[in-house]
């Protein structure tokens, strides 16, 4: 789960990370009031879960409160890469001497949280990592012992040589580490970490990604989810306990298991089609899940055909067949449905579908190529 910049700021601020004052606004009037309180020139920043906000016009400079209100009214409600902006962050436009990057990621290779710091900050760190990896200092942390003082010092020295800066950065690194661990993060970064002409070290922008697996045991983090910033069909799917990602094609896919769901999308592409979605109905075979899945997929007007690919293991294919029958009873499905079922209770599943005049197939390739052909006919 991605947190908004203002939410990440709140968590880091609570841990003591120094940053410019600032606040979040949902209306131009609120933005104006914040700008007035801050005084001077401010930056109005769209709070939306996409990169490249600045380029899309989602970050604007305002010289006075009236301009802040004007900027906020332009940014609020605008759509950036398909997502509507509902909030803006208003912060002072600061004088900056240097920009650095400090980040902490959950690293697969070392199986540990790993710090990455670079004095080349304010830019895309992945680009730095790809082009000039020598500019990044990496340090794995053993979470049993935490970030040890000498490790924090070593990282701070990779950023700064001036002792006051080094001391300040050492504290910030410890605070960033504590924020990461305390909030079940898979990524926490301050980019840029800046120094000001008057010698302060401050976090200017922050990003935190919380591990979705933490949310069940951490209701305090789960409430930070901003569903207004997500694709509505994906929100609806999550509430129905389905894993769904909307894509741009026209072949709707309903599959059990994430790996098979990806492989099904790949096969759609292989046969010349385009998948409309990724959808994993999971291991259990509650017919309700199938009904919900069909509701979500049929709501997308781009979908020209629906492809079921079910490999029955724990999932009982007869339950899925019952779900398909139940869904078509509850609402009209206007596009053809191609069904591939194999595995647990498949004879029963085929009988259920035949009973309502629906055909099913056994072979994945045959079903996918048929679905792609139907989508092409309809397009």
């Amino acid at each position: 789960m991605n947190l908004h910049e203002y939410q990440a700021r709140d968590l880091l601020k609570a841990a003591g990370v120094p940053m410019f004052d600032g606040d979040v606004a949902a209306t131009p009037t609120e933005a104006e009031a914040i700008a007035r309180r801050l005084g001077g020139t401010v930056v109005v920043k769209a709070q939306v879960h996409v990169g490249g906000r600045g380029k899309a016009g989602g970050v604007k400079l305002a010289r006075n409160p009236a301009e802040a209100a004007e900027c906020a009214s332009q940014i609020l409600g605008m759509t950036i890469k398909g997502l509507v902006v509902n909030k803006v962050l208003v912060v002072p436009a600061a004088d900056i001497a240097t920009e650095s990057y400090v980040g902490l990621i959950l690293d697969r290779a070392t199986q540990l949280p790993v710090f990455m710091v670079s004095d080349a900050g304010g830019v895309d760190i992945e680009e730095v990592a790809a082009r000039t990896p020598e500019k990044i200092t990496r340090l794995p942390v053993d979470p049993r012992y935490g970030l040890l003082p000498h490790q924090a010092l070593q990282l701070a020295l990779a950023l700064y040589r001036e002792w006051d800066h080094v001391k300040a950065a050492t504290r910030i690194l410890q605070q960033l580490y504590r924020t990461f661990m305390a909030n079940g993060a898979s990524l926490a970064e301050i980019n840029p970490l800046v120094t000001t002409p008057d010698g302060r070290v401050l976090a200017l922008d922050a990003k935190i990604v919380v591990d979705d697996n933490e949310l069940d045991r951490r209701p305090d983090l789960a409430v930070l989810r901003d569903e207004s910033g997500e694709e509505p069909s994906e929100v609806q799917a999550r509430r129905a306990n389905l894993t769904f990602i909307k894509l741009d094609g026209n072949v709707g896919c309903v599959v059990n298991g994430a790996g098979l769901a990806m492989a099904t999308m790949d096969l759609v592409k292989y046969y010349g089609g385009e998948p409309a979605n990724f959808l994993d109905i999971g291991g259990s075979s509650n017919p309700d899940k199938v009904v919900n899945a069909l509701k979500i997929i049929t709501a997308d007007p781009a979908v020209k055909v629906i492809l079921f690919n079910i490999f029955g293991g724990i999932t009982r294919t007869d339950d899925v067949a019952n779900g398909i029958v139940e869904a078509t009873r509850q609402f009209k499905v206007d596009v053809p449905i191609v069904i591939r079922l194999t595995g647990t209770n498949e004879t029963e599943a085929f009988r259920i579908l035949e009973g309502v005049g629906m055909a099913a197939m056994n072979d994945m390739d045959a079903a996918v190529s048929k679905a792609v052909a139907l989508a092409k006919e309809a397009a």
């Binding site: 697996n213 790996g259 098979l260 999308m265 790949d266 096969l267 592409k269 998948p275 999932t315 595995g343």
Partner: protein, 290 residues
């Protein structure tokens, strides 16, 4: 022959009285797996299905039954503790089926296991099966057949799809191992590949990866260097968008790293037979087996 589980396996089921645990315990027993004990704290002294003794703790179960392998079906918040308990009780092979284990939990579990020499498979995995001998986890016994192909995968149902094609073509399996779809897993591709390479009963290997991370690239390098058996490889997620978690916590392309194409290229460079579709596994292996 096979790797890691066979007729000598004395299996313990952690969470045996739960909904998932009891269902799968029955399936494993039905398959012929030697299930010797179950553990559910608070339910010690009961009998599961009239034949399997249930204990409060893994240590008690091991002392009483000589269990040497454990499979875990407990809720996500308790999974890390269950793995550590099994390790502490001296279990050599721990298989964690549970999906949704917080990844930070694994960062402290892994060093704990290394200190005790415990092998963990998973979490968020379908487990492993040696056809005709032992099923530890949830891979359906009905689709596998004994034979010479070793299979390792990050996925569940996609594995079944590939096994289904193999079995239909008369290509049986030595052992099928699902290592799991999480970013941090106890056993990686290389561990399984090394075991298959050393297993005289395994004549060829199938490796099923997916987008995200670099485990497949590292495995390809290992294969090039060490594996002297034919390998066929598939990567799921060729059409996955960047930056989105495709169901599995580990299946995410971050930036431009972890793409299917990058992994296929690594396979190609290592001389691995590329499967563009699951069904192609049959032709690739038939061509390479004597």
């Amino acid at each position: 022959m096979s790797i890691w589980v066979d007729r000598e396996t004395r299996l313990l089921v952690q969470g045996i009285t739960g909904r998932e645990g009891s269902f799968h315990a029955r399936q494993m027993i039905e398959y012929g797996t030697n299930v010797v004990a179950g553990v559910t704290p608070g339910k010690g002294g009961q009998q599961f299905d009239g034949g399997v003794p249930v204990f409060h703790t893994v240590a008690e179960a091991v002392a009483q039954t000589g269990a040497n392998c454990s499979v875990i079906y407990v809720p996500p918040a308790m999974a890390a503790g269950a793995v550590q308990e099994a390790s502490d009780a001296g279990i050599d092979l721990v298989v964690c089926i549970t999906e949704g284990v917080p990844v930070l939990d694994m960062t402290t579990v892994m060093p704990y296991l290394r200190e005790r020499g415990t092998r963990l498979i998973g979490p968020n995995c379908p487990g492993l099966i040696t056809p005709g001998a032992a099923k530890v986890g949830i891979i359906p016994g009905s689709i596998v057949t004994p034979g010479p192909i070793g299979l390792v995968s990050r996925s569940g149902t996609l594995t079944y799809e590939v096994v289904h094609h193999l079995s239909h073509a008369g290509l049986g399996q030595s052992t099928c191992v699902g290592i799991g779809g999480d970013p941090i897993v106890g056993t990686n591709f290389i561990d399984v590949l090394a075991a298959f390479n050393d297993d005289p009963a395994t004549e060829a290997i199938v490796m099923i990866g997916e987008i995200g991370g670099t485990a497949e690239q590292e495995a390809a390098a290992f294969i090039k260097e060490h594996v002297r058996k034919p390998v066929a490889g598939f990567i799921a997620g060729q059409t996955a968008p960047k930056g989105r978690r495709m169901g599995h916590a580990g299946a995410i392309i971050s930036g431009s790293s972890g793409t299917a194409e990058e992994k296929f290229q690594a396979f190609e460079a290592a001389g691995i037979g590329i499967m563009r579709r699951p069904v192609e596994v049959v032709d690739i292996l038939k061509g390479k087996l004597k």
